[in-house]
Subunit: 562 residues, 2 copies
């Protein structure tokens, strides 16, 4: 059976029953269809007296372009907690429709570790992404109208950083000229579209702690600068209130369930490079009081998603993590040996499938460094060895040996094939790790300068010797400090395919320096993002995109989603 | 109290109870929040054995730019039917978010004749418009990718008619150049964005009779032509299946309610000039078997919305109308006297508010012609005199006299101020009119040529002496006939502010010819649209748009919507 068939065969519980398992009163739900509900924000206050769950972040070693199964592991671990007598809630990002119709397919997990109904998850869900698109583009329209109606704030048009967004892979929109036609058709200028997940509004949705906080963050968005370099905000051009009205309902997190009926909060999906790549804080504020374990996932490898989870998300939420799962696979560690090349959309090289624990060991430096990265933040690491049918026991043992050497707990898991039953060892290991007293600490204080923050992440987490800034980047950082953005955390936009900034460097590279080409700020979301390398914020479709084969069958059911 | 305050004070019934009044099993609903539900398409088959309701179209005389209250009359009439012991369902278009944040404000009716909850209606509702935006832009991305990947169909890029859409008033997007940047960023070309309501996908949503029909119509969309003039469809470039998957849930109509709990099906909102301006067929297929009266509204004046209701919508649905309400107001008839100028967003001229039945009588030609237009289609007209506080009884009498002279029923209604109680006379008049045996007939057969169809509408409905075509329009019509589109009905895109094509001509102009500048085709939706005059398909924001004042209050409630 393929993923969609497995998903369709699932027996779903009504959302009220799923919520019941979380101790949530049905009156705190707003149904969206018969199998999904939004949890009203009132839930956060209603649950305030309940004990806090153990807070578990699921991250990974530096992945291959295929991904190493963080979502399936998060789902599998949640289900395994239930199977071992523990109440768990999982929290995931909502996937973007762009990649769903592009090369990647959906993102509901896979095999017997999925969140369902998967068509809803991969298509509109409850419309939150559409709200982000609408709110973002409302501000774009207000901004261009501001220019057209006389530019009262004297914003310098070439300084405008606010673009437009659509939730589709459309390379033709990356670079466009708008405002053409006649005098009544606006002010011509160069701009472009990013994918909706790259919108600062998406990052704000993920980082807001309440409706009031959402409104304030939306108002702090900087859309550009005056000729004198003074920031112009969405509040200044009177666009923030309309955005908040559009975003209001979207702030309530979405309640779904796993194939085994574990509650799954699916909410927000900010980009993993130019944004922090974590699901929403409000979902976690609900989930943290709804069971014994709240298991959430962070994007890309632990140097990226988990680092931002600690230093951006937890800083904003005030929540403290108790354990960190690092998903490791035989294929990714073999790739870190630098003997093989893995390409998205192509089968793995034959030689990579042969039994060879030495190749796994040769790639072990990456796993060691990512374990160390969790310890840097005072969080107990657990290595989840995500088993594939092509793996060999000796190769799993090679991963386990690295974990043992590092003093980290580990477990082999087969949740993709076996559901929750395949991750019970992992559940036990995570439960043990979470019992250790939390030593959680941010990597840097708010008061450090932006350059100090960048250098701290680069040297401590990435293993760089230091940071090189272009003159433009230094100038930009100086202006951010001058404008009062210096207290924000940093979100370093670099490749996710290496701990370094060079995607070709595998393992745990040393003897390199992080090159910061330019720096941008998401002041509303609340972070500064230095850009190291080429960050694409609008994907394209391939020669044979999934869009060509997704369709309805004769019963009106969606087919071709995977 | 303003509209939003009245709306918020309403006592809503749960959707299951509203559906119960329609005889709909709760299992046929999918809840979207606690106060809105989608009606599953299965309902159409489930209701097939039930008797058909009388089918009433609500239209109007040629309106002022302020609108004459078709929506409030539709809502008021529905509520009045219940108050006079009749089961009624109303069917309305969903409003666009563009004008909501622009000058116009929301479109949920007004005063004590509203559909609630009005914030939902005016913002996302259940996300259908977002689905239209996403499906439309998915095809745009597939199309530009088709060019980028080698243009297998040999589509001539300059012939491309498929643009992109967003549900926002954004003049800067009207004319743009896409595909700039480097070689990997697509193929540069001129294009633009329309507002989502102008999307052919929106017209398809409104005209599809089933999911299968939706899929087929989506596949028939013509995106451009080869160098030899052969149409290239969405099916040819493999984009139609993905669009259908995106649109699947949107095809189920949305169930809301009036302030007095009358069931209100709110679904689809195609443009009233370049498209047919009517709510969806599937909503009517549900509503027609759910009570004794199904009351639906058509956009703009009766020469436009009602003509398309008869010749496009009823042709596609097979449903037969029993009565036509023509909303008339003192202010609009005074405006048709050509003595006053009414401007959107400005107060009415003082002189217009003085008691002057002669001015009303002087504008009567428009009402006479619109009554005649209903008779042309064999449908009994009823004149609804929509009372305003500034009206005088003598002026209402002047309207009534015109109706009587034309042998049409009439009633004065005060539903804006009084709710359903203000439209009971209208309800009685409509019930009587609907009892007359239907003589409904299309204005022209499918087999007439496109030019014959245009000339029939122009001379019979608009009162033109004939039609003038530019050479380009004639060439275009010839090519449509050659391509097999000649059997489609026509949707003449002209101003809605005059029965003629000149917005300055009031009353019922004669001695003029309809100038067809160009012709386009919505082959998927199923009509050809000749363009007479400047049709703007992407509005702009004004100097003080509603977006500047819409916001959340300290309780997180939306304010500034009206």
């Amino acid at each position: 059976m393929d993923d969609l068939q497995i998903a369709k065969a699932a027996r779903l519980l009504p959302p009220t029953e799923v919520a019941g398992a979380m101790g949530l009163d049905p009156a705190l739900l707003e149904p969206y269809g018969n199998d999904v509900a939004k949890v009203r924000l009132d839930a956060i206050e209603a649950l305030a007296d309940r004990p806090k769950a153990k807070y578990v972040i699921v991250s990974a070693i530096t992945p291959t372009p295929l991904g190493e199964g963080k979502t399936t592991t998060t789902v599998g671990l949640g289900m395994a907690m239930a199977r071992t007598g523990r109440k768990a809630v999982i929290a995931l990002r909502q996937p973007s429709m762009g990649p769903t119709f592009g090369i990647k397919g959906g993102a509901a997990g896979g095999g017997y570790s999925q969140v369902v109904p998967m068509e809803k998850l991969n298509l509109h869900l409850t419309g939150d992404f559409h709200a982000v698109t609408a709110a973002h583009n409302m501000l774009s329209a207000v901004l261009d109208n501001h220019l057209y109606q006389g530019n009262e704030t004297e914003i310098e048009p070439h300084s405008i950083t606010w673009r437009r967004v659509l939730d589709v892979n459309d390379r033709a929109l990356r670079n466009i000229v708008t405002g053409l036609g006649t005098r009544v058709d606006g002010v011509p200028r160069e701009t472009g579209f990013d994918i909706t997940t790259a919108s600062e509004v998406m990052a704000i949705l993920a980082l807001a702690t309440s409706l009031t906080d959402l409104r304030e963050r939306l108002g702090r968005i900087v859309v550009g600068y005056t000729g004198e370099g003074k920031p112009v905000t969405s509040e200044d051009i009177r666009g923030a209130g309309a955005m908040a009205a559009i975003m209001r309902d979207a702030l309530a997190p979405n309640l779904m369930q796993t194939l085994e009926n574990t509650p799954a909060l699916v909410h927000a999906g900010p980009f993993g490079n130019i944004a922090h790549g974590n699901s929403s804080i409000v979902a976690d504020l609900v989930g943290i009081r709804s069971g014994e374990y709240l298991i959430t996932e962070a994007g890309f490898g632990a140097d990226m998603g988990a680092e931002r989870f600690f230093n951006i998300k937890c800083r904003a939420s005030g929540l403290v993590p108790d354990a960190a799962v690092i998903v490791a696979t035989v294929r990714a560690l073999k790739a870190h040996s630098d003997k093989f090349k893995v390409v998205a959309g192509k089968p793995l090289p034959e030689a990579m499938l042969a039994e060879n624990p030495d190749d796994v060991t040769a790639g072990g430096a990456n796993l060691r460094k990512q374990i160390e990265n969790m310890r840097l933040h005072g969080v107990s690491p657990v290595v989840a060895i995500n088993a594939f049918p092509t793996d060999h026991p000796s190769e799993h043992a090679a991963i386990a040996a690295i974990a043992e050497e590092m003093g980290a707990r580990w477990a082999v898991c087969t949740h993709f094939a076996d559901g929750g039953a395949g991750a019970t060892d992992l559940a036990e290991a995570v439960a043990e790790a979470a019992e250790e007293p939390s030593q959680f600490a941010f990597l840097y204080p708010d008061s450090a300068s932006l350059k100090e923050k960048i250098e701290t992440v680069a040297t401590k987490v990435y293993g760089a010797d230091g940071v090189d800034y272009t003159p433009a980047a230094t100038k930009q950082l100086d202006s951010y400090e001058a404008n009062g953005f210096g207290s924000l955390p940093v979100c370093i936009a670099k490749t996710h395919l290496s701990i370094s900034s060079d995607p070709a460097l595998k393992g745990a590279p040393t003897g390199w320096r992080l090159p910061v080409r330019e720096v941008r700020a998401s002041v509303g979301a609340g972070f500064v993002y230095p850009i190291c390398g080429d960050m694409r914020t609008m994907p394209g479709l391939g020669a044979t995109p999934a869009a060509h084969s997704i369709d309805l069958d004769e019963h009106g059911e969606v087919v071709g989603l995977f």
